[in-house]
Symmetry: C2
Subunit: 90 residues, 2 copies
């Protein structure tokens, strides 16, 4: 799932999301936000690190936010952790 300057990380292989991030920078974005929920949070960090070390060595992590969102679940709501990592390329 891709929208303007945001890449949502899910359960696909890390390289799929790295490609999405690199594509957005190549299309002219100065900043790309990498978002993930729950278990995909670890993968979002992997995506950030692989992008920085292997593809865009000039990119820097500008901001990292964590938080909690409510998700509908069987019999009510459950809390899920989220992360947003802002990658910057000057």
């Amino acid at each position: 799932m891709i929208e303007d300057n945001v890449v949502y990380v899910g359960n696909k292989p890390v390289m799929n999301y790295v490609l999405a991030v690199v594509t957005q920078f190549n299309a002219g974005a100065k900043e790309v936000t990498i978002k993930a929920r729950g278990r995909a949070i670890s993968r979002a960090v992997d995506v950030t690190e692989v992008t920085k070390h292997r593809f865009l060595t000039g990119a820097t992590v500008k901001d990292i936010k964590i938080g909690t969102e409510k998700m509908p679940s069987a019999g009510g709501e459950t809390n899920i952790s989220i992360i947003e990592i802002v990658l910057n390329l000057d």
Copy 2:
């Protein structure tokens, strides 16, 4: 594994680590750093959020760092992502 003001998050249930964090604050720490590697990164975020929302509502996230470490593996080295979350309680 517990040392001064640092809690290493591994594969145990989230509440084990929340308890470790709360215990360190109750022992007088002003700051506790929550560290994790690889898949445990998601759990480190859960530990932070549960601590903030359910136990120490005055705690704030002061800093979040991500990075890469080299780990020995079968036939060489492999890269693993890490996270360090600094929780502050005034």
